[in-house]
Symmetry: C4
Subunit: 239 residues, 4 copies
Amino acid sequence: MRHSTNLLRRCAAEAIGTCLLLVAIVGSGIMGERLAGGNVAIALLANTTANGAALVALILTFGHISGAYFNPVVTLANASRGGISWRDVSAYTTAQTAGAFAGVAAAHVMFGLPLYFASSQERSGGRLIFSEFVATFGLLSVIWGCTRLRSVVVPFAVAAYIVAAAWFTSSTSFVNPAVTLARAASDTFVDIRPADAPGFIIAQLAGAFAATYLFRWLVPALPKHATAVVVPHDEKIGF
Amino acid sequence: MRHSTNLLRRCAAEAIGTCLLLVAIVGSGIMGERLAGGNVAIALLANTTANGAALVALILTFGHISGAYFNPVVTLANASRGGISWRDVSAYTTAQTAGAFAGVAAAHVMFGLPLYFASSQERSGGRLIFSEFVATFGLLSVIWGCTRLRSVVVPFAVAAYIVAAAWFTSSTSFVNPAVTLARAASDTFVDIRPADAPGFIIAQLAGAFAATYLFRWLVPALPKHATAVVVPHDEKIGF
Amino acid sequence: MRHSTNLLRRCAAEAIGTCLLLVAIVGSGIMGERLAGGNVAIALLANTTANGAALVALILTFGHISGAYFNPVVTLANASRGGISWRDVSAYTTAQTAGAFAGVAAAHVMFGLPLYFASSQERSGGRLIFSEFVATFGLLSVIWGCTRLRSVVVPFAVAAYIVAAAWFTSSTSFVNPAVTLARAASDTFVDIRPADAPGFIIAQLAGAFAATYLFRWLVPALPKHATAVVVPHDEKIGF
Amino acid sequence: MRHSTNLLRRCAAEAIGTCLLLVAIVGSGIMGERLAGGNVAIALLANTTANGAALVALILTFGHISGAYFNPVVTLANASRGGISWRDVSAYTTAQTAGAFAGVAAAHVMFGLPLYFASSQERSGGRLIFSEFVATFGLLSVIWGCTRLRSVVVPFAVAAYIVAAAWFTSSTSFVNPAVTLARAASDTFVDIRPADAPGFIIAQLAGAFAATYLFRWLVPALPKHATAVVVPHDEKIGF
């Protein structure tokens, strides 16, 4: 009973957080492209600035409620080390995916576009798959590596990594299956063709798996729970 | 007596802080537009960088004096939870609005423009109203969600959110009735037509209300006072 | 004896820090202008990014040695409240000015320009003077307001303010007499005509004076020493 | 035995961290140049944003494992003060150099380029050598100056310095022999001609030496170990 209310709240936090994250990704992509006068680098600069800034704010906002994963792959990595129970994983990933689709729709409404429309942006080929592997390997390394710091700067490290990875990978770093699926329903600056989504998701899972096992060896005393936000004085969540 | 001196100081802090915030918003909007050679994305990049940076500095500067709300909607949300007494609300919102108009005038003087001149920028339609609702819902979520952290990084989270929201909303995120009114008196990069201001303000109130009630349910143990800055060791303000 | 070694070290820190700050301001101004292809907003974006980033690094580096003022006006404001003794003020301001001129020369050498050459950039008129007054008023407000936080985030607040002020003032915020004099010896992106320097410096002194007196009233319990960096556990400097 | 496992882990952290850093430097250089439509300032803005953001994330991730030097010159400076034993220096520098070359190759693969190809970018002449000296002098000043703070903000100071230095030096601040060698194997935005590498490396060593000796005098009580990341409560690394 108590656990179910608790889980409902945590899933609401994951859904709302992932929703606002997708609003930020898709909305700033549309705005950046419309204003940039054809210069794609300026559009991407605006898009990555908005994504990184939104991530800082959202992780700090929802981190102490649900962990602020906003990402099925991060949820699975935590489950593999006991940081979240396996029975909560499906509720989390469902909430994240639903939130991601809601966020895409909200951004489309704001900018006067149809709710959903399939993307036509081809993102295929071995080097993009490799790129997603590297990007997600890096993300999980940052998460596992920083989690020991137990510091409020960790959300800044995660957001900084995401900003950098959007620039240093040829796939622009989706690193998140829920985000990948939802962006396949948007034919805008940040989209991906549905047919290319499965390859991206497999690469993301593989990258996360590799980083999780690497850090098991690198830091044997690693905490079980990779969370970015720690409430001061180890205070428990209030419900 | 003591309370009235105290309130005078707090209102002075709100007025000066909101004034400097508007100087930053309007001044950087003018400067960005003048230098950007017609590329609106570059002008908005400059404008949002300046706004976010100013917000970090001003919240850290005035937070421990007045709470550094700079925003009637944030003031009301705090009053609804008992974080500020209802009798102080009108003094606060008056100070914020007066400060906002003074800031617009100061920016206009710096850049050789008339003190005030009505804006002609149309910002109307349901999707802009929806956009302001989402933007203010997000802002109050960040404020209520982060306030539990009691950390000096909270002003960075608020500023990061504002930078992101300027890019991911089609209304460029006014999120503040005092700012909305004052920007209606400026026919520059960041302006809004006076006729469109009421719709924006109603959407801002609705968004703030929704987020405040959501977080009452999400985090029952939420502190009553949503303040971004906490003086170390719970030290009280010195007067 | 001991005091003189101590003062020598502190002045060396002020000189080296101000030198590196001017290298950053002048060097990034030249680089930004050369690469920006005529778009002044992009050049200023590069210049302000570099200035803000350098300031964060330099205040954190030299703050616990000398206070990291790098600015005669900040030095005087501290002396007026007893944060630095009046007999040290002339040594500090001499070190800052010498460092500023050395920094301009170093930047010129790096970029293949003559050591010094008088600027021809006119920056005169009442609104630029007003602009410098506002900019320095804001800077000293941030310094006095944040100094109570005793937190490592204060250098970030100061740097964020400087980035914002470069965009929201029509004078691009010199806010520093040593910087104003040294930039008069550089005919590059960031220069000022020698004849216009005195007006700027008087406005800077007036702005600093106004903010210092305002904060005396706003925060009666303000610490005497406005320093951005506090070594943890109130540990004294090691010499 | 125990030391050798420990050293293997630390070298793995240095290698992986330096690898990801070079992926960020080279990858974002390629991406920025491809998208910037010929405006070099926009490409460099993207490149430096990605480098700074990656550095924040990577230092926080690997700092508590290996110190996160990612740089032979920083390794030597630490050894000169006893912060790392001399017998570990060659293992560290080998790991850093190998990681740097792997990172260049990974970036090339992602973007569909040959694994390695010699650079043709001439970077020679006294003012570039002087520029590298200044850049590395500044970097080591920041590291030695900030190390006393024992704060999680130090990685932000180091990254901020690197962003600034890329803009204020005419050599764009390589400041790292491993990075210099690896970038000589890349004919992209961030490359250097192999023939020019030795001059750069000598200047880097001289700059690091000068800053290390300066801070010995400036701060006699300086800790022996210049590390950016300190695990809270002086907790030792868990192996």
